[in-house]
Subunit: 122 residues, 2 copies
Amino acid sequence: MRTDTIPEEQLDRVFHALSDRTRRALVRNLSEAQGTVTALAEPFDMSLNAVSKHLKVLEGAGLIERHNSGRTSVCSLNTASLETAQVWLDQYTEFWNEMLDSFGDHMKRKTDSAAIPPKARK
Amino acid sequence: MRTDTIPEEQLDRVFHALSDRTRRALVRNLSEAQGTVTALAEPFDMSLNAVSKHLKVLEGAGLIERHNSGRTSVCSLNTASLETAQVWLDQYTEFWNEMLDSFGDHMKRKTDSAAIPPKARK
DNA sequence: ATTATTCTCAACCGATTGGTTGAATGTATA
DNA sequence: TATACATTCAACCAATCGGTTGAGAATAAT
């Protein structure tokens, strides 16, 4: 379990990339099979150029990787970057914490449960 | 564990809300203690109006709730909406799936591991 | 060699974003 | 009542966003 701080810039990019439903659909499709830009663009009612730009945003966020082979560019999902967002969210929800507790695993518990809340941060 | 589909509009709003670092800082601060608009705005080098607008975005995404008391508006975090994003991410990462497997819990496994990937969706 | 395919770059467009300022509203307090 | 405080509304601004079109570069096929 990662506990170090994730750079704000990366979180900006990852959450922004996932805030568009076309890009989320691309992530979903890429989770099932990798594909070329043309193949990935096929299901959408927009130009190839638009999808190409969406893929660039996903790449900028580290959510996909490209493997250029000849004139085609094969994209594949990078789940590690998805976990960046996941880890951030896990800090503020009890969902998985409770599940871990139910298995008797307390490694995620804070040792000091201070009554005084930490200072607000900018 | 939820398996139904989350409305795209809500995912749009939640991920967009979290794509701004000021709003993420507000979420973090609210995870430690609820606060008024003025109190929440204090750590930031921007106008009160700007923070008020950020809180409105968070509220629109269902990430915070308000309790109006007199002339002050007390904001508090709604972790259920954070879980909306969390559940979406969990569909595409192996992180927690592997952890569940390690506990011998296979409820997240697909019964049919088809070799043919499902059709791409728009 | 010519033609077709895959993909990106550049310019452009309207809409939205994150910020500002100033006025307005409602609520405490002196 | 008059005044200070907490918050929002409205207008504005530059920057970014998601889309378009058209041109161009590189590769594959005929």
